[in-house]
């Protein structure tokens, strides 16, 4: 390996130094249980409440409305509880989209097994949703709409404010899975009429294993995890103090630096996208060119398969991910890529690079240097590419 270029920040991010420094005391000397009565425990409790305020401030919410969880998946799973409560008021219908993260989709599927009705709104060729489609899908028995803030695979940014307004007007709760967006784009739950929101620390240079669920005051919330009285009785279990402290610090810092980080990372992303599209033939960008997450670059390389691309990238010291069936442990191709209309073979050839503030211009240059050779080597080995060259098969672009 010549060098290591980590270009998979959508999968997870490195903990930044200030975040690590904020966490360390709670992994070493400040090990008190926040629920304990003595001062040693109170210190830990105070740290959690500071983190809670940090998260609330970034979202323009009230600290009361922030509950710490074990991550984005757990936060998304809370929707099952919300829907069960809503069913008692005659609301048994939920609206979401086909491109949500599996934590949300599988929760929705479980609700369907429990007798709920779920509408999965389709997306266009860039993964985008028309707010009108949400409005039209709302029925008297709709209790909840859940649309992600930004898509993890292809970076599409959703019209959350418009959707929020529609839901507020219709008297329907609005949840957004902001796991990929928090810390990278501005979120204002009041302005955007967001009632519920999920986020996860390890996507914005915080630690893994901790997230938050925002639930607007006044919305009844039943527990996913029963037990002790932590998180005002809503989420039992001794708190992951260091993780929560890390989450708060990471989100605060990400928000403070958001404009400048976003500009820097978007510029690198654009250079990467443009560089790939101009130097490698027969490839296509997945997702919108403009309205996408600052670090996200998802490209399908026709005629080659994603896992083999990732392995060759790995041999060159580059970490990325893919929507190929072979690259997933479930052996299913990316549901997002299929939802935007890609034929399977094009979905199989996709690679997602996702940059962060920790990437450099040299990283982008290095990827652009190594990628063409990797693609052409795999193409020279591919019977599919051979057929494409002979004009025996082609894919609409």
């Amino acid at each position: 390996m010549e060098r290591f270029v980590y270009a998979d920040n959508a999968a997870t991010t490195k903990i930044s130094k200030p975040v690590l420094d904020a966490m360390l005391p709670y992994l070493t000397e400040q090990y008190g249980n926040p629920s304990s009565l003595y001062r040693f425990g109170n210190q830990a409790k105070r740290a959690i409440e500071t983190a809670r305020k940090e998260v609330a401030d970034v979202l323009n919410a009230d600290p009361f409305e922030i509950i710490f969880t074990g991550g984005g998946s757990e936060s998304d799973n809370w929707l099952k509880e919300i829907m069960h409560s809503l069913k008692k008021k005659g609301k048994h219908h939920m609206i979401t989209s086909v491109v949500e993260h599996h934590a949300l989709l599988h929760s929705a599927q479980r609700l369907e097994k429990d007798g709920f009705e779920v509408t999965y709104l389709p997306v266009d060729h860039e993964g985008q949703i028309d707010p009108e489609a949400v409005r039209q899908a709302i029925r008297p028995e709709t209790g909840l709409v859940s649309i992600m803030f930004a898509n993890n695979e292809i970076g599409t940014l959703y019209p959350i404010e418009q959707i929020g307004a529609i839901c507020r007007q219709a008297g329907v709760l609005f949840h957004t899975d902001a796991v990929q967006a928090a810390g990278h784009v501005k979120i204002d739950v009041k302005q955007m009429n967001i009632d519920l929101l999920s986020l996860s620390a390890h996507k914005f240079h915080g630690p893994k294993g901790v997230g938050a669920f925002y639930c607007r005051r006044g919305i009844p919330l039943t527990n996913l995890i029963d037990g002790g009285a932590q998180e005002r009785g809503k989420r039992a279990g001794t708190e992951n103090v260091a993780g929560i402290v890390g989450l708060g610090a990471a989100l605060r810092i990400a928000n403070e630096e958001l404009e400048q980080t976003s500009a820097k990372v978007s510029a690198m992303r654009d250079r990467l996208i443009d560089g790939i599209l101009t130097t490698i033939p027969q490839c296509r960008l997945n997702g919108p060119r403009q309205n996408r997450l600052p670090g996200n670059c998802n490209i399908s390389f026709l005629g080659v398969e994603g896992e083999s691309l990732l392995l060759r990238l790995d041999l060159a010291g580059i970490a990325a991910s893919s929507g190929s069936a072979c690259a997933s442990s479930s052996l299913d191709p990316s549901h997002v890529l299929l939802a935007i209309g890609l034929p399977h073979e094009v979905a199989h050839g996709s690679v997602r690079f996702s940059l962060s503030d920790f990437n450099t211009e040299d990283d982008v240059t290095y990827i652009l240097e190594k990628l063409p050779e990797i693609v052409s080597t795999l193409r020279s080995m591919s019977p599919l590419w051979e057929e494409m060259q002979k004009g025996q098969v082609s894919f609409e672009q």
Binding site: E305, S308, L315, A325, A327, P343, H344, M381, P383, W385
Partner: protein
Amino acid sequence: MMYSDKVWDHFSNPRNVGEIADADGVGEVGNATCGDIMKIYLKIDNGIITDAKFKTFGCGAAIATSSMATEMIKGKPISEALKLTNKAVVEALDGLPPVKVHCSVLAEQAIKHALADYYRRNGIDPTPFVGELKEEEACHVH
């Protein structure tokens, strides 16, 4: 998912990549929808496989098994190539993750298809030798 060193070796330095212009038997299996296509070319003289080449559209395991399978039949008589099982290829590679074992089945199938093609070109019914061959392999069921 962990690949063995042997798999990594055959993936990063695959043996026998390419085509044979005047091949005596060609077999192609899999399909692009599934994300796996293997094409095997054979040169056969006096019942011996004197050369074998492959082209593969697929994952690391697919490429490694193609490479290993072609290595295992090169220089061997047809009768031995007919006996090649996916299990033997997997063992030769020091194992594959369970979800990737189906790639080795594709390699065994591709060789059988190539041999069937050789028999047909020589006016011989391949069925007694290669058995009933499925035309299109369905994607792995899960």
